[in-house]
Amino acid sequence: MTPSAETAPPGPGPGPAPGPANPSARARAFSASRTIATTARVLRQLRHDPRSIALMLFVPCVMLLLLRYVFDGSQRTFDAIGASLLGIFPLITMFLVTSIATLRERTSGTLERLLAMPLGKADLILGYALAFGLLAVVQSALATGLALWALGLDVIGSPWLLLLVALLDALLGTALGLFVSAFAASEFQAVQFMPAVIFPQLLLCGLFAARDTMHPVLEAISDVLPMSYAVDGMNEVLAHTDITADFVRDVLVVAACALLVLALGAATLRRRTP
């Protein structure tokens, strides 16, 4: 292209010697540097989109603020719903962000390109999870901080435990988004998956009615939906000073669900496509 390309092979470029250009380029199941490179790339993409970052970080805060004054007369209701929402916001945001981001990766052809390169599927998925997990930490810290110190959310347990649950919820949202993006052919469909996947969990998680007062069939369904445990975990922290057995169970269930769905998401990434 440039004159130099024709006349002389450019200096430091390692000419096309036979054999692998560099031995480290072989594909492995997991490579820390490729994962970190992917995380850095996803964050760099976000940095070119400050409006999305602002929406992700501040909309939950505005919602909490709104909620606080909607329940101006009953602090107890705000405590219960506020704590549940601290668990639900990261899940919903990360679900949306991840499903759209990975869908774009699929439709733009970059996913095919990456999978034809020595990139492990785990590198890609963990890279995404790490990038959005970092964002979720910031989002949860902002929302939790605002709720506890400015809005007077009355939490008996440690705020760190709230943050831990929020982070696991974010991971679950990322995992669900990744998984769902495999079944969406367009951004339009991906957005429609939110009501399909998230709303039933929202209705059954105990936010609107205590789970043990629901119809037994619905209660049984809510027992197998991960968001029920996310909300339950938040309420445990709200009401108890120390770590209860129920809290440990909730955290383990949410974490296990997130890992399971991440693994399912990895299975939807195919190197060979029809």
Partner: protein
């Protein structure tokens, strides 16, 4: 020396329909091989099979001495899809930095990666646009970013799907000069096109139509018989059609006799 690509009885089925039917050909090393044929004839499917991203491939397909799609090949093949596959919300350099980090990871390789990225940006003539967002570039510029990604790490085999579509003649000439410079360094190129006038720039040609290979020869040998590659192609198509019609007639006659 064994060929860069060796195919025998290669077939691909897509959506229940055969797209490639029993192809057999070799792509010699260190040359530019052109894959010519009308759109929809199976060029892209064949390229995807060679790169290892196509499902439902049967028959023999050896690439650089390995079965197509083998993990060892992933860092040795550069592939450019027809539509540019780059991140529109990253700059040219950020795109290349990321793909370079996938090909050659680790902090120890950082200096080598930086040089490699600078080299490929210069090779596709985008140095002045290195810090522009890929999404803000023109179509031709974006496809050159996509090409630059494939040049990273100096792969031994470059598979380029219509890399010159929509480019002005000067740029097209420059790109073909670059392809020849890369071949001179010992790499193999497989370049598809549906424009017959690019044929003469290739060392060797594979003419394709309806999932089959009509001819596998040098451009000179092909145009010698009929005057140009295009008329050679038309002649071969007529011949193939006549053959197919003859087959149909004999079948019909046989059916007639059976009655």
């Amino acid at each position: 020396m064994q060929p860069a690509v060796h195919a025998a009885d290669l077939s691909v089925v897509r959506g229940g329909r055969p797209v490639l039917r029993g192809l057999g050909f070799d792509v010699p090393r260190g040359q530019v091989t052109g894959l010519l044929g009308p759109s929809g004839c199976g060029k892209t499917t064949l390229m995807r099979a060679i790169v290892g991203t196509q499902a439902k491939v049967t028959g023999t397909l050896q690439v650089l001495g390995h079965p197509a799609g083998a993990p060892e090949l992933r860092s040795r093949i550069g592939y450019v899809t027809q539509d540019p596959s780059v991140y529109d919300d990253l700059t040219v350099r950020q795109n290349l930095d990321y793909f370079a980090a996938i090909l050659d990871p680790g902090r120890a390789a950082a200096a080598r990666r930086r040089d490699d990225v600078a080299r490929v940006i210069a090779e596709v003539d985008l140095t002045s646009h290195a810090d522009a967002l890929a999404g803000a570039l023109s179509g031709g510029q974006r496809s050159r970013v996509s090409l630059a990604v494939a040049l990273l790490g100096s792969p031994e085999l470059l598979v380029l799907d219509e890399p010159t579509v929509g480019l002005d003649p000067v740029l097209r000439r420059d790109l073909w000069n670059l392809f020849h410079a890369i071949a001179d360094r010992g790499a193999t190129l497989l370049v598809s096109s549906h424009v017959m006038d690019e044929a003469e720039r290739c060392h060797r040609l594979l003419l394709m139509r309806e999932g089959a290979i009509l001819a596998d020869d040098t451009p000179d040998a092909l145009s010698e018989a009929s005057g140009s590659v295009e008329s050679a192609f038309l002649h071969l198509v007529d011949e193939a059609d006549a053959h197919a019609n003859a087959d149909d007639t004999t079948t019909a006659e046989r059916q007639e006799q059976a009655r």
